[in-house]
């Protein structure tokens, strides 16, 4: 855990980079510091490993005042990743990664073994071990940077705009990798970025800085999107936050309609009746394995000769489906918007249809999540329970996660 106690950094000349900052970074979580340039976020980060010393205030690392420790010793226990990777051009990849272990006095062989182990962890081919940094792509260099920071297994990882120098596709991959690594390693990560999308994607907590070295809001990403503290935060979060927030709400909170889902061998007339009963113009026809085949119009089913089966009707493509257990409401909404019928199929892990969405059901799920959220905020700092409020509606509810504490759905993709 990292604690800032009214930390101020004033530069000679009077510029105040950070102004009596209080901040607590819980152990094992990712804290993202985000804000426009000159807001003090990078200064804040660099004070943690004493690249910059505060003018006043204290910074505690697991209760120890870092000002009391030797800077070099302190830094060897804190991983550091920077924008341009900062790799040593004159060292091979394995020696770059082994830097801190060697500083700590490991034998060269052991450091190299550790380097190769880490290359595997960050998704680098071992063949690259003997190469020099210039022989690697920007994305690969950044992976080496992460591996190097992790080499001595430090509990704390500082990342200063780690992905801003690579192209957007590589950036997204690296962000996913960070999430995967973090799920495995549970480091205390402090990451600085100016990209609010990145902050929302990778942060457990996001601190939005405003110019002058103040925190405008510190919250979980979902809560930032739902309830920005003021106009500055709202403006900073940008367009689309209502939709983006749906990424944090589980699709399992959605009540799906299974009445208008029929098997392909159902009599056409019964299929048409099912649609009418559900109040819809379409039924979703499935194959014998209960996987979606396509949408049949009720009017088309009624026009088929007597004795026909639903599978013989003209079927509209069903578009893409969403997984009711792992996907978010955003995925469900997207599938619904793209579907020719304005309805989308939710499937289980085996691809079998659970039921179909409607806009009305999506609206209800979002509303329920909104009502449940403030209560969840009060109960704990944990993930908002979006899925609890909705299951009383009597119809088929998606199999809500068997483990109620399961983490929130995939973050924004």
């Amino acid at each position: 855990m990292i604690t800032f106690e009214s930390v101020t950094k004033r530069y000679p000349g009077g510029t105040v980079a950070v102004d009596s900052l209080d901040l607590e970074v819980p152990g094992g979580q990712t804290m993202v510091l985000v804000g426009p340039s000159g807001c003090g976020k990078t200064t804040t980060l660099r004070m943690i490993n004493r690249l910059i010393d505060p003018t006043s205030g204290r910074i505690l690392l697991d209760g120890q005042d870092i000002q009391q420790s030797n800077p070099d010793t302190l830094r060897r226990g804190i991983g550091y990743v920077i924008q341009q990777s900062g790799l040593f051009p004159h060292k091979t990849i394995e020696d770059n990664i082994g830097t801190v272990p060697l500083l700590l006095g490991w034998k060269k062989g052991r450091a190299r073994d550790r380097a190769r182990e880490l290359m595997g962890l960050v998704g680098l081919d071992e063949d690259l071990a003997r190469r020099y940094p210039y022989q690697l792509s920007g994305g690969q260099q950044q992976r080496v940077g992460v591996a190097r920071a992790l080499a001595a297994d430090p509990p704390v990882l500082l990342m200063d705009e780690p992905f801003s120098a690579v192209d957007p596709i590589v950036r997204a991959t690296l962000q996913d990798e960070l999430l995967r690594l973090q799920a495995e390693l549970h480091k205390t990560v402090v990451l600085v970025t100016h990209d609010v999308e990145e902050a929302i994607k990778v942060g457990d907590q996001v601190a939005i800085f405003r110019p002058g070295g103040h925190i405008a809001q510190l919250d979980r990403p979902e809560r930032l999107l739902r309830a920005p503290a003021d106009g500055y935060v709202e403006n900073f979060l940008g367009f689309d936050r209502g939709i983006r927030r749906l990424s944090f709400l589980a699709a399992s909170g959605l009540s799906l309609d299974d009445r208008a889902v029929v098997s392909e061998d159902t009599a056409a007339s019964r299929a048409a009746d099912a649609a009418r009963q559900a109040g819809e113009d379409w039924v979703l026809v499935t194959d014998s394995g209960h996987r979606p085949r396509g949408w049949a119009a009720a009017s088309d089913l009624e026009g088929l000769p007597a004795g026909s089966q639903a599978g013989q009707a003209r079927l509209e493509p069903y578009g893409h489906t969403f997984d009711v257990r792992t996907d978010s409401l955003r995925a469900a909404l997207d599938a619904t918007v793209l579907s020719p019928t304005g309805q989308a199929a939710g499937v289980d892990d085996d691809g079998q249809v659970v039921g179909v969405t409607t806009y009305e059901r999506l609206r209800a799920a979002i509303q329920a999540a909104d009502q449940a959220a403030p209560a969840a905020d009060r109960d704990s700092g944990g993930p908002a329970g979006a899925r609890d409020g909705i299951e009383a509606s009597g119809e088929t509810s998606a199999p809500a996660g068997t483990e109620p504490q399961s983490p929130a759905p995939e973050k924004a993709s």
Binding site: G86, H90, K91, Y132
Partner: protein, 225 residues
Amino acid sequence: MNWAQVPTLIWESAYLGIVPALLGLVISVPLGIACTRWKWLYAPVLSTTSVLYALPSLALFIVLIPYTGLTDTTVIIPLTLFSLCVLLPAVVDGFRSVPEPVRQAATAMGFGTTRRLVQVELPLAVPIVIGGLRVAVVSSISLASVGQLIGVSSLGYLIVDGYQRDFPEEIYVGGGLIIALALICDLLLVLLRRVLTPWRPRRARRQVEPLPIGVPVRPLPGGAA
């Protein structure tokens, strides 16, 4: 002219070319480090080396003779002082060429100042320092021939002797050998740099070096090693 003495003359010229450059390097590295750390120091120190460079070598020899006599030392001291004018900026530029993120990463990983200097900054300064060394060696080799005027032997002997005996061929041979020796030393330094910096991209290696004389740099025959 006596061909048998030519190998000795070549050796003496090489000695008078290389030793001052190396001594200059030994002085320039700590001086350059100091000038990098205390930036205000650089301008006055650099001006001093320029003034030294402007001194006529013959005048310096004459000043030194009462102290060091008609020895190699009398030639080596001025040439060493001259080399500073090239080597000090090379060392300082070499340190400045270390990318800031690299320096910062080294600090953030817990390199102390000295360790960072030795393990990170010096190795990265090598290409530019060797660039300076090439100029220093080449100019020392040619300047050393002036030492012949006070009797310190080198390839300059062939020029002085040829002039005194009105024997132009000897002068041409002397001049040609000095140029050839300078080119060979220069080429050896290029090779040394390649060996010391396997980590440089090939493209950078092929770049024309900032040198006052044109030195044929042959591209490596294929392969990035």
